[in-house]
Symmetry: C2
Subunit: 300 residues, 2 copies
């Protein structure tokens, strides 16, 4: 299972019942929270996502609409008696803010909160079945995108066929890794004869806030799902550039150039009461596009 | 007009669609925000209260459920182009938190934000028609209650009766203040003959978070409306005491001893899915009690 749930899809000011950025990426083993705007914990309750399940939180940048809900979420986790560790990946300055807020309230969290300051591009988390890389995006302040990549899954051994070739169970792990088997007589049993290919590893790229930037293309190339912000409709490309944001056409162009399978667009400006025009505009360039709708869950 | 609107009535953890503490007290001239838990700006939008109208914000203490929504509200005010000044009254440490958060986002507010650190009991705001006093409450950390008192209204001059006694208009201001008129012949015209009494000044006391504390009685004596927290039902008085909170019976007892006209109870624990038992319990002691319901507006 790899699924993305949108908790907030709006830009800077909450408006028209749309909330600031927050997303949850769920695997069978982990639950990752990506950004945490004000009200994220209420949105989690609304959409029945348990705070306790979150294993890592990634904060793209320190504009308030991407992290003002974090201290409330962390405080609630503590009040609810969480004991298991939580990993937080974010720009360094966030640590001071959290410490200050916990100190003035005389709060000691009952669980270990591991703060990992994001410093350079590369792998920042290496979990059992997933790695997470970060990459820089071009915004008004330091800002990071994240790519979540499933690790290569092992091939599945077909035990009936393996027994025909008299392959000992001790060799199964090597079969799962793709090795051929050589029996006592020196005969080669090709791996494909006794195993089935695994599901190819899937990937999700979260591009955070960014101006239109073609250097992103190489970073997000071929991912299964790309989230790219579309703060504005295509006519406002000048305003988008001046504020280091993107338009529908720009997001869709990055998706097309990056040969991604699917695009999700969000971070809509509060100037738009309805989102009616976003999807048709993006699809003019890249057909397999969806709106990031709050509460919606996108299987990857 | 003097009216209190409840935006959040829950204690520490948002739950069952109840939000953390926030209230708006509206007069004809001012709009005061009292506490500002996470999501307050969303609650203001939901209940059609304009962010721009707020003239002063009062923060009782630095537990998150009373101020985590403040930075988001202030940031939004800035993004919406507010230019007129905003006064913020709060424990001193809040200033550092706000400055840090604005600095990391490279945000400069377009309006003057005047931070007034609360230091001792007494009058902390003196507006045209209202004074605001603060008083200490007993909680786990430094915590302040607030009393909002209308200034004494001037008496209303009845011009027809004043002309019968040939009182010159230049003397009307003194009539409004209650003075008698002495004409040229030395005859006294009693003030009551030519003026009508003004509406008596009204008052609202917000008791913040507090353990049961009878020293509050003198402070809130005779107010028209008292807000007193009832985190717990009466059976949990020991838990209430250990956490520096109060029960239904305790809040109602303070109201009764203080001879207030009306009591509003709130700050309900997240352990209660429904609020059904709060009102009957409080009314066992003090009949004129109401629940602080989100979105409800109580005329004072």
């Amino acid at each position: 299972m790899l699924a993305l749930t949108i908790l907030g899809n709006n830009s800077a000011i909450p408006a028209f019942d749309r909330n600031p950025t927050a997303q949850v990426l769920q695997t069978n083993d982990e639950s990752y929270l990506i950004d945490c705007g004000e009200g994220t914990q209420m949105q989690m309750a609304k959409y029945k996502m348990r705070r306790s399940k979150i294993t890592r939180i990634f904060i793209s940048h320190l504009h308030g609409d991407h992290y003002y809900g974090l201290i409330g979420l962390i405080t609630s986790m503590g009040l609810l008696g969480r004991l298991h560790e939580l990993h937080l990946h974010a720009p360094a300055a966030l640590e001071d803010i959290l410490k200050l807020q916990l100190n003035v309230a005389d709060t000691r969290l009952p669980f270990p909160l591991h703060f990992h300051a994001i410093k350079e591009e590369g792998i920042i988390a290496d979990d059992k079945k997933m790695t997470v890389e970060c990459f820089k995006t071009k915004h008004r302040i330091e800002c990071w995108g994240f790519i979540f990549r499933e690790k290569k899954n092992p091939r599945k051994v077909n035990p009936e066929r393996a027994s025909i070739y008299e392959i000992p169970a001790a060799f199964y792990e090597k079969l799962q890794q793709g090795q051929d088997y050589v029996n006592k007589k020196g005969t080669i049993v090709p791996n494909e004869e006794v195993t089935i290919a695994a599901t190819p590893p899937r990937s999700y790229a979260f591009c955070a806030d960014t101006i239109y930037d073609e250097t992103l293309v190489d970073k997000i190339k071929n991912v299964d799902l790309l989230y790219h912000e579309t703060t504005y409709l295509k006519d406002l490309h000048e305003r988008a550039a001046s504020r280091f944001h993107s338009t529908t056409h720009q997001a869709a162009t990055i998706a097309k150039m990056g040969n991604v399978k699917k695009l999700i667009i969000g971070h809509f400006s509060s100037k738009y009461e309805t989102l009616d025009d976003f999807l048709p505009e993006a699809r003019e360039i890249f057909d397999n596009t969806e709106l990031a709708l709050e509460g919606a869950c996108y299987k990857i």
